[in-house]
């Protein structure tokens, strides 16, 4: 009994130590990311003061704003102030909008979450079965079709898909909504609670708005989903092929298990962990910003916010966005690690 307690306590300690180590790594990673972004941002040949005052402002106006932004201080002092404010939850003010960066991110990020989540659901639900199908029909017509489809989805510029999608499904057929998250007539009708319009419209019982949101989100989400599907199906195929050549699969077949049981019950189960990782990374990529799709569809999301901020030298906004991207990837990695432990007993 006491030996068992000791063992449990030792395991718990190891568990705590493991997570402490992970969190420490996360903190160091984020600090490194911020440091790098800050100093690269400051040496970039972009002048935030000119973005604010315009290129025709006189020197006294320029100097006044330069001082207001604290750009006269040494870089390490500026960074120190930034970190101090950050620890108080203040990411500073964005030049682009005149709002606190946290307010801006809280506004634009849900738009991206909404789009990316719908896209990754579509991409995963289409990509995984297609990948499994291709692997189980290796070298046959079905496999070739899936591979060509994947190659097409992965290599054709997403911008082109966006434009063609708009031409066919919006301009010709009128099935899709045009640019923006919702028809302008409905804009502002629903009170923003979560920032995710599908949820807000449903909660408010505004079903016309909900339908309009669906009409607007479907096309960009499908295009992003196609891109994710291409990646996920290729990786699924590759993981499945590796599993299907393992001896335990032969054993399972020799035992007389049905093909369905062999594929889904044994091979697929063993690739789940790897699949989770790539789906998480694909989702992270979408959250980081589908800039081109956001541009084509005038989607007021995170990617276009980050890009515009970068072009203006709005470093508070850029740092806030980079921090968020870093957090997304770190969180998704931690989540994937945690799920590894759920699905793979060897990692416990």
């Amino acid at each position: 009994m006491s030996a068992l307690s000791l063992s449990l306590s030792g395991g718990g300690m190891r568990h705590v130590a493991g997570w402490s180590h992970r969190l420490g790594t996360v903190a160091v990673t984020l600090l490194g990311l911020l440091t790098l972004t800050f100093f690269i941002g400051r040496v970039m040949p972009l002048d935030p003061v000119l973005s604010i005052v315009g290129s025709d402002a006189d020197q006294s106006t320029y100097q006044q704003v330069y001082l207001q932004l604290g750009l006269d201080r040494p870089l390490y002092v500026q960074f120190g102030y930034y970190l101090r404010d950050l620890l108080h939850g203040d990411l500073g003010m964005a030049l682009l909008t005149g709002n606190p960066v946290t307010t801006d991110i809280a506004r634009v990020f849900p738009a991206t979450i909404e789009l990316a989540t719908v896209a990754i659901i579509l991409g995963t639900f289409a990509g995984v079965p297609l990948g499994v199908f291709a692997a189980t029909h290796r070298g046959r017509l079905g496999d070739q079709i899936v591979r060509v489809l994947s190659l097409f989805g992965y290599s054709v510029p997403i911008f082109w898909f966006g434009m063609m999608g708009l031409i066919i499904f919006y301009a010709w057929l009128g099935w899709a909504g045009g640019a923006g998250r919702v028809d302008l007539a409905y804009d502002g009708l629903v009170q923003s609670r979560s920032g995710i319009l599908l949820i807000d419209a449903a909660m408010a019982g505004e079903w016309d708005v909900f339908r309009s949101v669906i009409k607007h989100i479907t096309l960009p989400a499908c295009i992003l989903g196609l891109h994710s599907m291409a990646y996920i199906s290729r990786m699924t195929r590759s993981f499945m092929l590796a599993q299907l050549s393992q001896e335990y699969i032969i054993t399972a077949r020799v035992k007389g298990l049905s093909e369905r049981q062999v594929i889904w019950g044994h091979a697929f189960r063993n690739i789940l962990v790897q699949l989770l990782t790539i789906v998480a990374l694909a989702y992270g990529g979408l959250l980081e910003g589908a800039v081109l799709i956001e541009t084509v569809f005038a989607w007021p999301g995170f990617g276009s916010y980050l890009t515009s901020s970068l072009m203006l030298g709005d470093m508070n906004a850029v740092m806030g966005c980079v921090l968020l991207v870093g957090l997304i990837f770190v969180t998704l990695n931690l989540l994937a690690d945690a799920l590894y432990q759920v699905f793979d007993p060897r990692t416990r």
């Binding site: 002048d47 000119l50 025709d56 020197q59 909008t97 911008f159 923006g180 084509v296 005038a298 276009s304």
Partner: protein, 533 residues
């Protein structure tokens, strides 16, 4: 990014013939697609860029307006009338009675005076023209006064043409009258409401700002108590759209009414669309090739003259500039009584080679051209690069953002720049000359960064003196002669900024839109816009 754009354009060109307009915007709402990339602040003291000028022209009123068709015609605004003192040293405005702000507060001459004081005290971007007239944060209260609730008196601290001041009031949003009480309710740390006004408005204009979500959407609803009578449209919605092809599809489908900032291929396509109307709006800004006289090569007048002969004016204006600009070779904007006809510069490689040989550069030299990476700037630069090469000048094109290109120019750290500028909002030669030619102090430490003449280090005491003299000349005929003399001198002295084209902005709208008249100063008013269906 470029390749996909090309593919997209080709795809549209091939497949979008005779597309029917399938949807329609609401009859009483005007939907406008614009790029909000440079829309940073709505504050009339600090707003820069044409888009914000147009927005503010509809949220606020100014004392006067300039006729969009004939900008030399000054129309009454909040000022019913105005009088210039016989000595030209002050202007008295009679403010309209009974005007109310959106809050219901009455608008008085005090508000008008306070709004201008605020511009000088905050010293943001739009203080610049006022400072050039001699106003400072210290003297503004003394020189801009409300003598009673309906009288505003502006006393000019320095000799200036009072018409220029009135033109500035009619073209710059710094002349907008703010609801002082409302703004001061939101003052923080003595900022005179600067932070609040970045995303809010406190005016008396035909529309009330409902919401502005940066880089997304801006909504305005008509102000029922507007003193001129209600605007025709109940609501104006401006949506951020940076992609030209998306704008084109949406206007073809009838989902937006007006599109600005479209690319030339899309504009050309829309010209053929029977459901669309394309309106070209001439602006006062000028596209130019500028040289830094600080660079020893360009300090030689003959080299500048050679560069002037190596610009393919006709080629650039016929192939690159349609929908962007019109051939113009004077530093004063076209259409003014003082503007001389173009001197007729042409591409003359042989003449340029001769000049270079005389200047001791028979084999040319190496140089750089800084330029914005967007059309038409980059196209002008590549055209220039090829014609310079014909005379042995090897120019490396350095594309960048506006921030990078004009930042280098402000630092006097460039050799050649293809750029755009020249004030020109006010229909007065001084507006362009002040921006492009005038350079009263050529020292680096003078840092006259708002004068593009200073940025090029080109200085002509003779021209400077004439500009100063012409500005205060009361005899209109003599003044015109002086301005013409300045243009001739600039031509003979080979100024460092060589005008190539005068800017044109192109707006595309649905054929049912009526009453939209693009303003050369960007103060386009939407109160009379209707839809005829």
């Amino acid at each position: 990014m470029k390749m996909p754009k090309l593919l997209g354009t080709c795809a549209i060109a091939l497949s979008l013939m005779a597309m029917p307009a399938l949807a329609k915007t609401p009859d009483d709402q005007l939907i406008v697609g614009i790029s909000m990339t440079n829309l940073l602040s709505l504050d009339p003291a600090g707003a820069t860029g044409n888009d914000v000028v147009e927005i503010n022209a509809n949220l606020y009123d100014g004392l006067v307006e300039l006729d969009p068709v004939d900008t030399s015609k000054i129309l009454p605004g909040l000022a019913e009338s105005w009088t210039i003192a016989p000595d030209g040293k002050s202007i008295s405005f009679k403010i309209r009675s009974g005007v109310k702000f959106h809050t219901g507060n009455p608008l008085t001459a005090e508000d008008a005076a306070w709004s201008l004081h605020r511009v000088l005290k905050l010293n943001l971007a739009l203080a610049s023209p006022w400072k050039s007239y001699g106003f400072t944060a210290q003297n503004v209260e003394q020189n801009i006064r409300a003598t009673d609730p309906t009288t505003l008196v502006i006393t000019l601290p320095e000799p200036t043409d009072p018409r220029m001041v009135i033109y500035t009031l009619g073209t710059s949003v710094s002349g907008n009258v703010l609801d002082r009480k409302k703004v001061m309710e939101h003052e923080k740390d003595g900022d005179l409401g600067r932070v609040w006004l970045t995303t809010n408005a406190a005016g008396s204009g035909p529309f009330v700002l409902n919401e502005w979500r940066a880089k997304d959407v801006l909504m305005m609803t008509r102000f029922d108590g507007y003193w001129r009578g209600q605007a025709k449209m109940r609501r104006v919605i401006m949506r951020n759209m940076t992609e030209s092809q998306t704008l084109r599809l949406m206007i073809e489908r009838g989902d937006i009414d007006i599109a600005t900032g479209m690319s030339v291929p899309d504009i050309e396509a829309m010209k053929k669309n029977p459901n669309a109307v394309v309106q070209a709006v001439k602006r006062g800004n000028i596209y130019y090739v500028a040289m830094s006289v600080k660079d020893s090569k360009f300090a030689d007048k003959r080299v500048r003259q050679a560069i002037r002969s190596l610009i393919d004016y006709d080629g650039i204006n016929t192939t690159v500039m349609p929908n962007y600009g019109i051939l113009h070779q004077r530093p004063v904007q076209m259409g003014l009584p003082a503007t001389l006809p173009n001197p007729g510069y042409k591409l003359d490689v042989a003449g340029a080679k001769k000049l270079l040989a005389e200047a001791g550069q028979p084999n040319g030299f190496k140089t750089t051209i800084r330029v914005l990476s967007d059309p038409p700037f980059i196209n002008i630069a590549t055209n220039l690069q090829s014609t310079l090469a014909q005379a042995g000048i090897q120019a490396e094109v350095l594309p960048g953002t506006g921030n990078q290109v004009y930042g280098a120019m402000r630092d006097r750290n460039f050799e050649i720049i293809v750029g755009r500028g020249g004030g020109g909002a006010e229909p007065h030669p001084h507006s362009s000359l002040r921006a492009l030619v005038y350079n009263p102090d050529n020292r680096d430490e003078a840092k006259l960064t708002n004068f593009q003449g200073w940025r090029t280090s080109f200085i002509s005491p003779e021209i400077n003196a004439l500009i100063e003299k012409a500005e205060v000349e009361k005899d209109a005929k003599k003044q015109i002669e002086m301005y013409q003399e300045i243009q001739k001198l600039y031509d003979s002295q080979v100024g460092a900024i060589i005008p190539v084209s005068q800017m044109v902005d192109t707006v595309v709208m649905g054929k049912d839109i009526r009453g939209y008249v693009g303003h050369p100063a960007a103060t386009t008013r939407l109160r009379e816009v209707t839809k005829q269906r």
